[in-house]
Symmetry: D2
Subunit: 384 residues, 4 copies
Amino acid sequence: MGTNTMGRRIQLGLIGGGPGSVIGETHRIAARLDGHYDIVAAALSSNAERARQAAADLFIAPERAYASWRQMLDTEAARTDRIDAVAIMTPNDSHHAICMLALERGFHVICDKPLANDLAQARDIAARVKATQAEFCVTYCYSGFPMVRQARDMIRAGELGEIRQVHLQYVQSYLAHRDLPAGWRTEAGRAGSSLVLMDIGTHAFHLGAFVTGMDVMRLCADVGSAIPGRTIDDYVSALLRYENGARGSLWVTNAAAGSEHGLSFRVHGDKGGLEWHQEEPNRLIHRRQDAFEQIITRRLGPATSEGAQRSTRIAIGHPEGYLEAFANLYTEFAQRVAARMGGCPVDDSPTLFPGVSDGVKGLAFVAASVKSMATGGWQDVERV
Amino acid sequence: MGTNTMGRRIQLGLIGGGPGSVIGETHRIAARLDGHYDIVAAALSSNAERARQAAADLFIAPERAYASWRQMLDTEAARTDRIDAVAIMTPNDSHHAICMLALERGFHVICDKPLANDLAQARDIAARVKATQAEFCVTYCYSGFPMVRQARDMIRAGELGEIRQVHLQYVQSYLAHRDLPAGWRTEAGRAGSSLVLMDIGTHAFHLGAFVTGMDVMRLCADVGSAIPGRTIDDYVSALLRYENGARGSLWVTNAAAGSEHGLSFRVHGDKGGLEWHQEEPNRLIHRRQDAFEQIITRRLGPATSEGAQRSTRIAIGHPEGYLEAFANLYTEFAQRVAARMGGCPVDDSPTLFPGVSDGVKGLAFVAASVKSMATGGWQDVERV
Amino acid sequence: MGTNTMGRRIQLGLIGGGPGSVIGETHRIAARLDGHYDIVAAALSSNAERARQAAADLFIAPERAYASWRQMLDTEAARTDRIDAVAIMTPNDSHHAICMLALERGFHVICDKPLANDLAQARDIAARVKATQAEFCVTYCYSGFPMVRQARDMIRAGELGEIRQVHLQYVQSYLAHRDLPAGWRTEAGRAGSSLVLMDIGTHAFHLGAFVTGMDVMRLCADVGSAIPGRTIDDYVSALLRYENGARGSLWVTNAAAGSEHGLSFRVHGDKGGLEWHQEEPNRLIHRRQDAFEQIITRRLGPATSEGAQRSTRIAIGHPEGYLEAFANLYTEFAQRVAARMGGCPVDDSPTLFPGVSDGVKGLAFVAASVKSMATGGWQDVERV
Amino acid sequence: MGTNTMGRRIQLGLIGGGPGSVIGETHRIAARLDGHYDIVAAALSSNAERARQAAADLFIAPERAYASWRQMLDTEAARTDRIDAVAIMTPNDSHHAICMLALERGFHVICDKPLANDLAQARDIAARVKATQAEFCVTYCYSGFPMVRQARDMIRAGELGEIRQVHLQYVQSYLAHRDLPAGWRTEAGRAGSSLVLMDIGTHAFHLGAFVTGMDVMRLCADVGSAIPGRTIDDYVSALLRYENGARGSLWVTNAAAGSEHGLSFRVHGDKGGLEWHQEEPNRLIHRRQDAFEQIITRRLGPATSEGAQRSTRIAIGHPEGYLEAFANLYTEFAQRVAARMGGCPVDDSPTLFPGVSDGVKGLAFVAASVKSMATGGWQDVERV
């Protein structure tokens, strides 16, 4: 997955993702996998002792193990060997404050999704990104899978013809038990206006936009809970209308008992359709109107698209998974940052990794869905 | 698949389904498969010569090869060896007239779906069925699959807990080409108020009701065409609310290029979920909240439900298909008719085969969907 | 599935397959499905009362319900409305005697597999078929599936290039429990020299020959039991060498606990490979060396082969199964018999349904496998 | 994936795997993924300039970028900050010499498979491992998949009962084209006595031994080429007999046109069977004799085995792949080395990662197969 001509790895600081955090471990593996980063600073926990121990486990120097993100951003900004970038994996309600300061201190930023707790916060961050010209990545990680990029490339190349129908699903069982798990997601307000929309709805929404290259203009949503008496949203189903008039629908829930991961898309154009399931990420089903169904895989022989190949480390049927997809965002971000820092030529094409505007669009989707539920009818999605 | 004690097969007359008709061949195979019927009369075409030749190909006696269904119903009613039942497989807009006369002449009736061209016609037929006490079957044939019945039995037995979410799909490519195929379906008015709703929407709707045992109370539908400029509906996506408060959604289209058959359901309750696809009908996916996913098949060893077993002819992994499912309706109808005619004890349990009220419900769904599209919001589904 | 110009259906007599017989019900459905036969005579059981009742259940006239196959063959031969053909579904050790008399009495014959109890008997039957010029079908029923015929047609057309590798499996669990089920199959001698080879091994062997069009010349087999202490063979694995030098292998067992049906083939030639599984019979996996994997199905749009289309009743993704495959043999046999009896033009091409020489080849495979096991090395397969 | 109490990462030197090497990139990612290693020295190419540039791309200090493995082993052995371990990914015919010197110089060793070019070399290395007490890993990487370990744990726990049947496959298309690709694998002698056996046969063989915990005692093999005129072996099919009397078979080829990766196992015991395919590594098919088929996955809810959990980084249906499996060996090796070097308590249980005796067994399998082909019959596999 390439190298850079800075003569050194990018120096990365972590905010959040301490002991027991799944997403923290994911970000760290993603940073390590292709060898583009040294993780040299961290604010892993607001508990000083836990922060120190967790940093030691990562072989981070004690003086760069911080107990607060403010302290880390301020201290690192003053070091001569300061970090180049920060990766943020804290609860949603802290993203805005951390992003704003990190950008102000001159760091490039990788921020977990959703970008912020509401649309206004998201627009605020976007404005500062524009002002600082920093590199910014929102980890809508599923866009990093080779076969997702294959789908995007095929659609852009017109292999499906004009897109006519889109169907998105993200059907999980995380909240299927009547008793809610403890954690910030299920605390009032911390996850934003609607848990299911913020937590996984924005993933599905971004995936649809990423592969089709189209924005949703209007929607009519049924948002609520599948579990009687529950006050937190765990279900959304929506009718969608895309900018070109294409119709779509979406079924997202984290309360479908027995389900596993369940993220998928299915897109149809004039000439055929594509279907992809995250549980079997290395297969892309290509339904063709005038030929038999084709299974596109990362294999010897027939060529996958340029975007798929760039996102693949090994071939001949060796499966890659979620961590490699996540690492693709990190690696592409590293390449941009290294280019920006003078290491190698800047690639002028838009980034494949999701940027701040994708983050804003996610919050616009959440806002429109909530409004549609309140009014019982179709709503426009605010343009970004 | 049993026998009867009438000492003879049920004498069946066919209306429609002449040369080149796929559905005609399907009905005939369904009637023959288990040996419960003799096909002895037919009005296969309104062209007298074609009707005669088609009947001869079926080894029907020349004097019982009719060129009109009115003639057949009137003439057969007067014969001492008259037919016991008629099977109707004509275009939608003729169902009402044929059913009304067939019932009046004292025949039991098998009618292809949808029952009629609109809700008023359907209610009219239902009233006459009630008045005549005839046996009546609407061939929502997908309810005949063993694994569909397995799903229904499991849900009735509470194996999923209370049902919370339902998702129905019927995604075909029949009308994906810009040019519409010729035929009565695409002639204005002949298929009813909305082609996609009448032709395949009612199938998906019935399947959801059959397996869950629940009716849809309200819905919000997006009905129209996926192909710009087309005036015939080929797309419907809907948000559903069931009688117990469960949420559902539905995606039905015959214009998704590259698709094959595409009928499926996915249902989730408190304890787990079930998923079934018509293309692989002998597998029922059982997702369990506290155990691994299970694939229920018609095999040696573990027992399938009583309803599945009754609907299965062979086991040990030998696949059955669409024709066997269709034949299950014919065989169950034959058993009721034979019982009614004094052959064997009447089974008092509700029929497994879809009856006239299922037919009426289908048209109520169509009416509510069309109304929802016109108003842009939620509509009640008229109760049957 | 066509008609005939005899002006009547073929008159069929059944031998064996009485109450409780799965294979009996299968043959009867196969005979009825396409409407080419009237089942008018039967020797369903050697118990006179059971034979009478079983025949009555099939609406067979009492005077044609026979308690012995000899009586049936002799009596029917003398009737003016005599049966045209007999279908034999008795235990293996009776096939030879019944076939020989049926042929002598001038009937066309459908015989279940394996053709006989040993190679000598099989050759004896083949000689009489040749002498009488009767039509003869051995029900290697899996060759009736549309996708099996698609594979055969593709290979004959060179779409895989020269065939290089063949792998056959038939992995069941029927005898996986230590206690053997009762029945003639597990009685010494009645199933022939090796239960697993006779019962399912010959099916897998025929399937390989049918799709490749090639005979096995030599083999090295491991035959025995997977269950310690069992004297009946339930396992065979073999190395195969085909006439063109292609290599093959075979794994056949009815003692693999948990297995379902498990019949499959996988064939590779210079350009690609094909794989088919009986449990999902409507899909043929086509692996292509220079293109993505393709799933061949019976669908709208791309055309299946002539042999697949001839074997298909309904399309658009409606699955057909085992009974339709079995019925394909019956229907093709009916067309030959009708042609022979003057009804319609005789098709001079070799029959698609397996004939007596296929039956002989099956027994030659059994003989070579048993000999290989005894000697511990490679053996020639006797040529037919 | 844990940490260690050495207070630093393990210092690793690489031998082979330079520019363009797929296996080199795989080893490096595996070393980086969990953060247990610093790659600080390398002999990546025998071309000095290429070795220097490749090392620079990995941010290795110039003075530790070696142009020869002998130089690296000698020089590093003398450094105070010497490497702890070496990872060898050179052509097969160099493994013996490099392993012997690395062990002599006191390094722990990770060596790619097969261990050596013949059985004698392999035994030689094993003797030196025993003498030096070094940690030694042979990268039979497929044993690192969580679901492979799940299978192993289930079998050890008796969940399948006594194992009765084993079927192994590794069916690739790498050599399906008549023209052989260039490279050391296809140069006479460099890959050992039989390319297909050395290259992928040993993988399949180890996988069978790993999951069943049983050794093969005797075998009868058909080894050769599927491509006429080719002198390099690309096909092996074998009949196997395990130590407990269980029967097995194996089909391994790299010349099946159109195939992808194709490594799989299927194992049956008294109570059921397990099947796994490397292309879909996160699913383990569990066929149960008295219950429905179960799909075991790394998901929320039902617990996977201890071995599977230890080998999993993320759950909830997020797929892991080949690189994570490979990294599992590296991480487990790191934990042993760190323990040995005083960092944390030594785990006395046998290593999960394959050791030198697994490497020797692989060569014994190759030797027995070649001998069986020469004699045309069964051969004993030499015991290790």
